[in-house]
Amino acid sequence: MARTSRKPSARAIQKPATRKAKRRSKSARRGKISPALVAAHGLTPDEYQRILALVGREPSITELGIFSAMWNEHCSYKSSKIHLRTLPTTAPWVIQGPGENAGVIDIGDGLAVVFKMESHNHPSYIEPYQGAATGVGGILRDVFTMGARPIACLNALSFGAPSHPQTRHLLAGVVAGIGGYGNSFGVPTVGGCVRFHTRYDGNCLVNAMAVGLAQSDKIFYAAASGVGMPIVYLGSKTGRDGIHGASMASAEFGEGTEEKRPTVQVGDPFAEKLLLEACLEIMAKDCVIAIQDMGAAGLTCSAVEMGAKGGLGVTLDLDAVPCRETGMSAYEMMLSESQERMLMVLKPEKEREAEAIFSRWGLDFAVVGETIATKRFIVRHGGKVMADLPIKELGDEAPVYDRPHVAAPKPPIVTAADVAPPVPTADALLRLIGSPDLCSKRWVWEQYDHVILGNTVQRPGGDAAVVRINEGPKALALTTDVTPRYCEADPFEGGKQAVAEAWRNLTAVGARPLAVTDNLNFGNPERPEIMGQLVGAIQGIAQACKALDFPVVSGNVSLYNETNGRAILPTPTIGGVGLIDDFTKSATLAFKGANEAILLIGETTGWLGQSLYLREICEREEGAPPPVDLAAERKNGDFVRGLIAEGIAEAVHDISDGGLLVAIAEMAMASGIGAELDRAPLAAHAFWFGEDQARYVVTVKATVAETVMARARAAGVPARQVGLTGGDALTLEGERPILVAKLRERFEGWLPAYMAGGPA
């Protein structure tokens, strides 16, 4: 039997909160689970039959709610599971792969990095500030649940077309929410990406990543062990917010989406900061057997996972759960997604000590249940058994679907000859650099505290953020990336490219890429063409991760990103983590001085298909995306990393969106130093703006340029000099010079002007 809590919740008259709940409890009293009720819980008739078979009787309304919480797409990965299994998840440095709250990798010196990325797309569309804020809160909790102190956050944001009436509102709210939570919690938000596309109209994406540091021998897991162990509830009180959030996240949007606002949780970063300090303190005092945060599907999911993973049963006494409001039903308590809550199995002899720590931090602490030998999940409320379910099946036997999928036909290759340059190169550059996807995102990241904790070596704006580990000299390189227009055109190549791009970002600052977290955002998987995108992207990610020794250690899948039947661009965001042995040797993209040779590393064919040049300048969104040669990727990257380690590289930048000239312009803007560029060896627009993969710009002292290129040749790495740094302008042969100051004005200008109501 569960012991009583320190602060027993007031027992008041049971009073359903909403009309819907009333309807549900009425039908529960009648003992009739209607097909409509099943459907309202996001369960199919087949799934309900399966529930009947498992339970052996008609489930109670609370039980139906519990099943719906465990078996929705968000929690069960039922559409993606069989494909996710194909991802490489191991390496000698991987301590924990997917399946726990977050992935864990070993970085030596007895230290481990704990990280994960997760989406909060639907809540952020409905209520951008709280949706994004609780996205950050949730992912931070995933990280410190495992015993790690969060040291950095990143994000990846996709919004609709700038001209869409909702875009400003969503962008402003999401950015304020991310900042509002992370800044208050006290973690630097050091990197990310922001993009715009009309396919995200009505369905923005908010992917948040958190990175923490732990001792590699002190990682905490969810699996309970031992019978009769107290299960303890910690953190904020339970309210009626976020009920059915996970189910909402597993459905498409349509008319009336705004009415779903009550399903969005409200974040309290202050409570989370206290929870962090209290959790780390009781972990340090060795009080904890198992711990699981209450995220999606709250108390249900956390309790079931602790039991199912530990091969144990769990009893919960809801009368002991600290509640924010009176009269909550078992159904509401089990499905609440109130934030900043944790469930733990404590060592019984340490219960007093743990309680003292929590009360010092002013947090609720209540024994709400215990582990039992029989593998059941038993929930009591008001002296009555409200649920009695087989725990293993609930946790591990959610339906798994091999949904039909079709691959879209491969689009044709667009060659340079198919694209007539409509404007001179200089004009194209100025337009590209000031376009929504390529312009400076300073307006965004200056709202995030990116210097707190005093370890930020490279701030936002570079290829990857660099964060020192403790007092150094080791540092982590961190990035998030994906190119959704490539994924739309060819999910397989796009999936490969997302991984390669993340790997390249880390390499460009001198890091050894170690592992990734993936956040797969797609449309409705019940449509074969969408399922085809998901399957293709996962295959691409798997191939690239294998080839680059870059395993997936954690991740999240967000499906049903559609509004009124129109899906988002397939967006498999990749969060990458790399290690730098000495942070003082990390490379940055700013030119370091005049008269440095500008070297182009990697093969350039002038690939214009799906390039930003084609989209922004020629107003054509078409063609096959650039193919990714993973062997070249690795060879070229290893070569560049070597140059950085030896101190030969002065400045390094990876070449991605916008191509070579955009990369060079970014290096010029970061330094205020211009460049004199040689004549293009192929069609100028294709050479300067093509988006061939596996490429970098590296500057070296002019005196060593020949030696470096000879070394590249010997290593089988294509390299050529394309110009020299110097002056205050970019000078292209046959074109008017472009002042770096002018570039900066365009680069920095668009977003603040747009947010102030300027043109889209």
């Binding site: 002013g362 709202q447 995030y448 904790l453």
Partner: protein, 233 residues
């Protein structure tokens, strides 16, 4: 220099502050919990660091200003001891009545994290003796409510008595609205109390103290304090 850093629930730059103090004074500061009623005996400097004490709920610094430890901070200041409040610490000192004025929402109504330039107005105080008067230093700000406001008489008094120690300025030290990041009255970034022993400032000198991280302009403040106490001893 013996220092103490006061920690309220929700404070989050106490580690940054402790690291800077240790680095420059060579002594680990004492970390003092908000519910305590006394500062460690014999401390030279009490620091109220940055963060979001009590989540900034109610009003920035308002709840922390009424915490038990604040009586001890007030007594320390009353007996002539030095007190430094940074960011939320500045807000707390204002709310506690140890400094005049209030910190309002930034003029642009957004949180701002960026490096700013500060003109050091005086070098003849324990807090600024590590700098030259007129020197421009670069340190970061990270706040949503740093717009310093006080009534006209108070501002006139602060200015008249030379109690403004730092102002937001252009890199060459000139005062221009474009460089006044939060719209503070007279570009005020840091002020002294009337007795000259309590400083509140919005920017974070503690985040710019290491050459390896590319910026050291914050060191002067701590190094100056260390000198001050060395000389006093």
């Amino acid at each position: 220099m013996k220092s103490a850093v006061v920690v309220f629930p929700g404070i989050n730059r106490e580690r940054d502050m402790a690291r800077a103090l240790k680095l420059i004074s060579g002594r680990e500061p004492a970390m003092v919990w908000h519910a305590d009623t006394a500062l460690p005996a014999g401390i030279d400097l009490a620091v109220v660091p940055g963060g979001f004490s009590y989540g900034d709920y109610l009003r920035c610094g308002a709840i922390a200003a009424r915490a038990p430890i604040m009586a001890a901070v007030r007594a320390h200041a009353g007996s002539g001891g030095l007190v430094l409040g940074v960011c939320n610490g500045f807000q707390i000192l204002c709310e506690a009545g140890l400094l005049p004025g209030v910190l309002m929402r930034n003029a642009a109504i957004k949180f701002i994290c960026q490096d700013v330039y500060l003109r050091v107005e005086r070098s003849d105080t324990p807090f600024t003796r590590g700098y030259n008067a007129g020197q421009v230093i670069r340190v970061p700000v990270a706040h949503g409510e740093g717009n310093y406001v006080a009534d006209e008489d108070t501002i006139a008094r602060l200015e008249g008595e030379g109690r403004v120690l730092f102002r937001y300025a252009a890199p060459d030290g000139t005062l221009e609205p474009a460089w006044n990041v939060n719209g503070a009255t007279n570009a005020i970034a840091g002020v002294l109390n009337d007795r000259g022993n309590v400083l509140g400032m919005m920017p974070h000198p503690e985040n710019h103290v290491e050459a390896a991280l590319g910026a050291t302009d914050g060191r002067g403040l701590f190094a100056g304090l260390v000198d001050h106490f060395k000389q006093a001893a």
